[in-house]
Amino acid sequence: MKMRALGAVVTFSILGGLLLGCPKDSSKPAPGTDGEGGAAPSNGRIKIAVIPKGTTHEFWKSVHAGAVKASREVDVDIVWKGPLKEDDLKAQVDVVSTFVAQGVSGIVLAPLNDTALRAPVKQAAQAKIPVVVFDSDLQGDDHVSFVATDNVAAGKLAGDHVSKLLNDKGNVVVLRYQEGSASTQNREKGFLDAVKAKPGLKVVSDNQYGGATTESAFAKGESLLLAQKAETGAVNGIFTPNESTTFGMLLALRKSNMHKKMKFVGFDASDKLVGALKEGDVDGLVVQNPFNMGYLAVKTMADHLRGKKVDKRIDTGARLVTKDNLEDPAVKEVMQPDLKKWLGE
């Protein structure tokens, strides 16, 4: 009997919820700490959902720290929630639609795919929930702003550095990342634009793709070096547009004993790449600023929600790191943000 009564109560409450659509606003204040709570912002506090592509990579931890910093500065609550599995597109779609259904004040999203996330973002717009997109772009114009590294500019940074190192003359190779990846294509474009501006520099190969993993990039890099007869000095400069291609190319250079014989500029940083930078096997790394990305994305959303006008495109900046400026405080802050301070880990 007890069981049945409980069942009845629950069933009625579910039906009630369905029929009423939304419970009446309660005056009870919601808990206000970030990272928890899940109510509609009925008490006037702004609550922003921040949805990264994943949660375990160092990059996203820095973004998280930046987002926390912004939330404290501009006094809003954030909920940090990535897809259940790293890089799981379907899971991200589900997380976005759940937040839309829940009715948060705003959503800050790093879309895993530039078309697949369009529908849930559109849904958010229809529900009057603004969306700020960060890290990677999204097709359509349902989002308020796009906060990310200007990849063309970042690629240009690398191109200029290679030119400088080669004194504007020599043969240059690009090992691309993957077809259909917008951010790396822009980096490659920025690099090629900068190099082609110098008549003394010649691009001898820019149609090879390293693929998604370090292994594939390593294999491709090795055969590329052979094909271009790099051992004869026919290649003077190399650019790779992301972490996996950079590391793969580094391994290829070391294996064929051609490191230090040519100027090599890569993208993104990891402990291994920074080590190679210190040893002189890599001559420069262009790094993004994930901390700033998280910070600006949340700040932009808060500004928008408070009625301020925000730009459609916000650059979070990239920075060239070399052996010489590795110890600069500004570089250090980008390379090793104080996660502990913001995430309490």
């Binding site: 629950v10 919820g17 109510a39 940090w80 597109l89 759940t98 259904a101 829940q102 697949a116 259909g180």
Partner: protein, 318 residues
């Protein structure tokens, strides 16, 4: 009193346990989410939408598990279906042709698995472990190692968080259909018989191999339909989609009261199991729980479901 007594001698419906678990978990979330936002109708519809793929796959898996088998290729098959649909649409096919082709491919795969299991008596675990890898590879190869972008041509409206979206109704209709097939047809009876005691089924003139072929074909057909729903959500063909989906599907069926040994299971139970998993997932997002908590909660619920079930079995036996 006599009514109560007759209730007691009746078989307790297999879906009652998962239903109660669903209500309990739902109620807990409804109470602890601030403002009780868990009761909003939009949340309902969103959960319904999110359950569709899992639930449709669970329908097929229920059949497979009732025969005492298992299908590990579900996730890969869903991913392959999204790729086939996207590729066909991109190549200019009409949505109807694209969907029909993708579902036909899925069904053919299931028939192949069924022949291996039913006719050649290979272990379903091993056969589908192999199929899982082959299908995943095929999907990635077919998509040239990237997501296939295409104009969804209305397929994106198949599944939305709205009562007017056909996807949710299709899922409900399929659930009803499979429940009828399992409960009220000769074929359904033979599915239970093969899972319960295959030797006895053969003795009674039932072609157990044929039953298994049909079961795996139907299961894969349903996975194909689920793949179309998945495409509707993604709007792209994603060869890396749904990695590990089969484990969620198996969990849903097991929570739904079907032991992996076969012979038992109910469609309604599996659907409740799928809903339970989605409620936990949604609730975790609501509470801002990190992913690891979600994993642990789901795992604990599987343990509890199986423990309660086996305790009940022991009680009725003695």
């Amino acid at each position: 009193m006599s009514a109560l007594a007759s209730l007691r001698t009746m078989r307790r419906p297999a879906w009652l346990g998962p239903f109660v678990a669903l209500l309990v978990v739902y109620t807990i979330f409804a109470i602890i989410t601030p403002e009780h936002s868990f009761l909003r109708s939009q949340i309902f519809l969103t959960m319904a939408r999110q359950s569709v793929v899992l639930a449709i796959c669970a329908l097929g898996m229920t059949l497979v598990i009732v025969t005492g088998g298992i299908d590990l290729s579900t996730g890969s098959l869903v991913a392959l279906t999204t790729v086939v649909v996207a590729k066909m649409l991109k190549g200019g096919s009409s949505p109807v042709v694209a969907v029909a082709t993708a579902v036909a491919v899925a069904t053919a795969v299931g028939a192949f698995v069924g022949v291996c299991v039913g006719r050649f008596r290979l272990m379903p675990f091993v056969v589908t472990l192999g199929t899982m890898a082959v299908l995943r590879g095929s999907a990635i190869g077919l998509a040239s190692e990237q997501k296939i972008d295409c104009d969804p041509r209305g397929l994106d409206h198949l599944l939305e968080a709205s009562l007017s979206a056909p996807g949710i109704w299709i899922a409900l209709a399929l659930a009803a259909l499979v429940a009828i097939v399992l409960g009220y047809t000769r074929f359904g009876r033979h599915v239970f018989a093969v899972g319960s005691n295959e030797a006895a089924a053969r003795l009674c003139g039932i072609d157990a191999g044929r039953v298994k072929i049909l079961v795996y074909a139907i299961s894969s057909l349903l996975a194909g339909i689920a793949g179309v729903m998945e495409f509707s959500t993604l709007t792209v063909g994603d060869p890396t989609d749904s990695v590990g989906l089969e484990l969620d599907v198996i969990a849903a069926v097991v929570i739904g009261g079907a032991p992996l040994a076969g012979g038992e299971g109910s469609v309604l139970g599996s659907v409740f199991g799928a809903l339970l998993i989605i409620v936990i997932r949604t609730g975790a997002v609501h509470m801002g729980m990190p992913s690891w908590v979600q994993y642990i909660v789901t795992g604990v619920i599987i343990f509890v479901a199986v423990a309660v079930d086996s305790a009940r079995r022991r009680r009725t036996r003695s």
